[in-house]
């Protein structure tokens, strides 16, 4: 389970005329994703999704508010190291060490996660089977295709068997086959009682994958609920229209 309570992140930005302007990229967001659930975090570019996910993944510390993460048994994790140990975090900015082969990199990372060589080796064999990496696991990462390296990235998140997955646009720029593999993987993990937080711009994907959706705009939550609830609320037939309508309402609301 992962739960965020009233998260605020303030950044300073230098604008014209040399003024330092402070603004809240995330402005009081509370969300919760329980075990065995896929929570979709949707929103246009610049809505604050990446900042939110970074704070949830403990890469950034919030200006205000708190994040609570529990392990599979409902025990709250308090130490930062322990928390990172139970999160698998993936975004467009988490690139791989391309001078290594996937196997070498996973072995080295396994050591950092505190696994013995034997444990890491066995776990890698298992992951290679799950994600079907056998064909390229010993090739240098710099020689892999986009889809292949994204699968290695998934392998990296899977390595230490975390309870919570945070995936920031995991299927961005992938072909249907590769994104299919990643979507299947997320479903599998959910079925095993893991928590999956997931952001995307592909609405169709979100619609059939997510149990619940949180819609974010300008650092705020503007709507939340199951895809059906959101469609009903906005009286639309698909999530794409739902999304557009919600943003439209918000923009007009802001104007009036």
């Amino acid at each position: 389970m992962i739960k965020a309570d009233n998260l605020i992140k303030t950044f300073a930005r230098t604008e014209k005329k040399n003024k330092r302007v402070e603004f809240n990229a995330v402005d009081g967001i509370s969300i919760e994703a329980v075990d065995g659930e896929i929570l979709g975090v949707l929103g246009p570019n610049g809505a604050g999704k990446t900042t939110l996910l970074r704070m949830l993944g403990k890469l950034m510390s919030p200006t205000e508010g708190s994040v609570i993460i529990t392990d599979g048994n409902g025990r709250e994790l308090t130490q930062e190291i322990e928390i990172k140990q139970s999160i698998g975090y993936l975004s467009g900015n988490t690139k791989l060490y391309k001078r290594f082969s996937a196997r070498e990199m996973l072995l080295l990372l396994g050591e950092i996660y505190g696994m013995t060589k034997l444990e890491a080796g066995n776990r890698i064999e298992e992951i290679v089977r799950i994600l079907d990496l056998g064909a390229f696991v010993d090739n240098r990462i710099e020689r892999l295709s986009t889809g292949q390296s994204q699968r290695v990235s998934i392998a990296r998140c899977l390595l230490h068997s975390p309870q919570v997955y945070i995936f920031d646009e995991p299927t961005l720029g992938l072909d249907i086959i590769s994104s299919r593999a990643i979507i299947d993987f997320m479903k599998q993990e959910k079925e095993q009682g893991k928590t999956v937080l997931y952001s995307t711009h592909y609405m169709e994907e979100a619609e059939f994958l997510c149990d619940r959706i949180v819609m974010i705009y300008q650092g705020h939550v503007i709507a939340k609920g199951t895809p059906e609830e959101l469609r009903e609320q906005t009286q639309t037939t698909n999530l794409r229209d739902t999304f557009l309508k919600l943003i439209e309402e918000e923009t007009q609301g802001g104007l009036s």
């Binding site: 040399n18 930062e80 190291i81 322990e82 999160i87 060490y97 290594f100 990296r156």
Partner: protein, 691 residues
């Protein structure tokens, strides 16, 4: 909260970094290339060149002519044939020969200019009051190496000939030549051991080469593990891992220092082989036998190894601190360039002859290691100083690592996406017109101007006195002008070139008078505390002003700083500072920097105060013309006092008081404060008419 740093995590990070580094061939190449390729090349080159020069000079034969038809045979025992025989003598073990060519006296000059002969001796008889004497003149061409060498050879032989003649004459007179010619014997004995002599040859060049090479060895891995990680996009991956910043940094630091230490050790080994080679060459050359036992170098070498390792740790940490600010290799290179310059410059200190290695110097980073290496090679080591060098290097490294851990905590640095803040090193084409300089640029410009002032300024001032001061002022304005032109800044904003309101001019004059009075009081108080300092400043001023007139002094001491120093301190630097900092901080820091620039304790306070006032005026009014006027007035008064002390003393006696009574101090303070307050009030007045 975590309490302990885990060794297993550090080891895991270290392993990952090391493997990552070794996978990249550039690390290895940079580590190996200097010790294994460059050194031998330099050494071989210098050996070959040395022997080539020596052999070309020594094995030659020189053609010479003796013209002695104007000489008188028999005068003082002169005999032309005997002289010729001596000159052409090949019996001595010299490696050169003089060959006598008989040419008619008239064509000698031409033969010399066409290089048919290398030199000729003209012997003429002269009458002196003591009788007659033969005078020898050696004709040669100083522009030709062979000709001047031949002249030197001839001179040596003639000296010998003169000595022979003296002996002969003395013997004829029945005297003892040995006693008369050498009543005392003078000889020189070089007390440096042979080890010291070899050491001093190595000691001048070795520190510089080694420090540069370690820096080069540390540089690439430092960039790779910090900026490289950002550039390749793996930094965020790294931050998802369950390791603390401290473990992360220590692991990375250990990897970088491993490469740096390896590079240092390789350097030393390469040096050692070169020394052995030199030793062998020198041993085989019986002309300069050195009684050096190679084993005598071993304790010195061990100390060098220890200190070098400590230094490698230090330089790794510092380089990492610098490169962490960069987001890419290119940017890291830009940031590291000034670092490299500083390090290389500091390592040059070992070239300064007879520098005394004090405990204080032993605490100065880079300089200490440079002097230590050069001292150790001449067998001057003092263990307490070596301990200082070792410990300070360790402490500096530790401090740098602590700083680095803090830097890695800064989210701005990790996730920030703003462009490079040092624009001076960016390509000019990538910059946009307008705006004011960044603070980093301003600091760099200031540092450059100050370095120029320190190193070039002091030299030109010593050489050209007053005009040297003018050259220094041109540096002061030249650097910021060049920098703002290159970074395409808005000149009007950067240098605050706004026209002042008339009432502000009045205010500026009043504020300046008030401040001047307060500064007089302040400097009187401080002078009693720092007498020597004041004396030194006055001496320098008198020395520089020596032989100049009032107009020149007014131009160079009052007008030039009013333009140039204002442009740097109240223009470029203040513009950058007030953009980035709070107004009060910008004004105080700019003022303090102006104080430091004057390089004197008393002047730090007095000019610092002036600097703060000037900064305030520019901040308030946006017009540098006001402070240029104030600065000019301030310095002009000093010039007038220097040139017309009597008149000034009559008009303004309080300027000359050695000490003041409490009452007069009170009056001056009051008058100063009133003027200053009045001036500031006028400066704060709203413009009389709207914009």
């Amino acid at each position: 909260m975590r309490t302990s740093v885990k060794m297993t995590k550090i080891r895991a990070i270290y392993k990952k970094e090391m493997m990552d580094l070794i996978r990249d061939k550039k690390t290895l190449i940079l580590m190996l290339v200097v010790p294994l390729v460059i050194y031998p090349l330099i050494m071989m080159g210098s050996l070959l060149m040395g022997s080539a020069i020596a052999s070309s000079l020594q094995s030659d034969e020189y053609q010479i002519t003796v013209v002695d038809d104007k000489a008188q045979k028999g005068v003082n025992g002169y005999d032309g044939d005997a002289l010729r025989a001596l000159l052409a003598d090949t019996e001595d073990d010299l490696e050169y020969h003089l060959i006598i060519k008989e040419i008619s006296p008239e064509s000698c000059k031409e033969a010399l200019s066409t290089e048919e002969i290398d030199a000729y001796i003209e012997v003429e008889m002269q009458k002196t009051k003591d009788g007659r004497k033969n005078v020898f003149t050696i004709h040669y061409l100083s522009s030709k190496t062979t000709s001047s060498t031949a002249a030197n050879m001839i001179e040596d032989k003639l000296e010998y000939y003169r000595e022979q003649l003296s002996r002969q004459l003395l013997t004829e007179l029945g005297l003892e030549p040995e006693l008369l010619m050498k009543p005392v014997t003078i000889s020189r004995s070089d007390s440096s051991a042979n080890e010291e002599r070899v050491g001093s040859i190595l000691g001048t060049i070795l520190p510089f080469l080694m420090i540069s090479s370690i820096l080069l060895g540390a540089f690439y891995p430092a960039v790779d593990t910090t900026a490289g990680e950002k550039e390749r996009g793996t930094l965020e991956t790294l931050l998802t891992l369950p390791v603390g910043n401290d473990e992360l940094i220590i692991g990375k630091f250990l990897a970088v220092s491993t490469v740096a230490v390896a590079s240092a050790v390789l350097n030393l080994v390469s040096m050692l082989f070169m020394s052995i080679y030199f030793y062998a060459v020198m041993q085989s050359d019986d002309a300069q036998t050195l009684q050096v036992e190679l084993t005598d170098f071993i304790p010195a070498l061990l100390i060098v190894v220890l200190c070098t390792i400590a230094f490698a740790l230090f330089i790794s940490a510092v380089t990492m601190c610098v490169t962490t600010f960069a987001k890419s290799f290119k940017e890291a290179n830009n940031y590291a360039t000034p670092l490299m310059l500083v390090v290389m410059f500091a390592s040059f200190v070992a070239f300064v002859p007879n520098i005394e290695f004090t405990a204080m110097l032993a605490a100065v980073p880079i300089v200490n290691i440079s002097i230590l290496i050069s001292d150790i090679l001449v067998f001057e080591y003092n263990f307490s100083i070596i301990m200082i060098v070792l410990v300070t290097n360790m402490v500096y490294a530790a401090l740098a690592i602590l700083l680095l851990i803090r830097l890695y905590n800064s989210e701005d640095l990790m996730f920030g996406e703003e462009g490079t803040s040092i624009q001076i090193f960016a390509g000019r084409g990538t910059l946009k017109y307008g705006g004011v300089p960044t603070l980093s640029d301003a600091v760099l410009v200031l540092a450059t101007a100050l370095l120029l002032l320190l190193y070039v300024g002091t030299i030109v001032q010593a050489r050209f006195l007053l005009w040297g001061l003018l050259i220094t002022q041109l540096f002061i304005i030249g650097v910021p002008l060049l920098a703002s032109w290159y970074t395409k800044k808005d000149m009007k904003e950067t240098f605050s070139l706004h026209a002042p309101k008339p009432v502000w001019v009045l205010g500026a004059v009043f504020a300046e008078i008030g401040c001047y009075l307060i500064v007089i009081l302040l400097s009187t108080l401080l002078s009693s505390l720092f007498e020597q300092d004041v004396q030194a400043v006055n001496d320098t001023m008198n020395y520089i002003l020596d032989g100049s007139n009032f107009a020149q002094a007014l131009l160079i001491i009052a007008l030039a700083p009013a333009v140039c120093e204002e442009a740097l301190f109240r223009g470029y630097f203040l513009a950058a500072a007030k953009k980035r900092l709070r107004p009060a901080a910008a004004i105080l820091i700019s003022g303090a920097v102006f104080g430091i620039y004057h390089l004197s304790v008393v002047k730090f306070f007095t000019t610092g105060l002036l600097g703060i006032l000037f900064c305030y005026v520019v901040y308030r009014t946006g017009s540098i013309f006001l402070t240029a006027l104030m600065h000019f007035l301030n310095n002009a008064v000093a010039v007038v006092v220097m040139f017309y002390p009597e008149t000034m003393e009559q008009m303004l006696p309080f300027l000359f008081g050695e000490s003041y009574s409490a009452a007069s101090m009170g009056v001056i303070a009051l008058a100063g404060s009133v003027c200053l307050a009045g001036g500031l009030w006028l400066l704060n007045l709203k413009p009389l008419r709207g914009k």
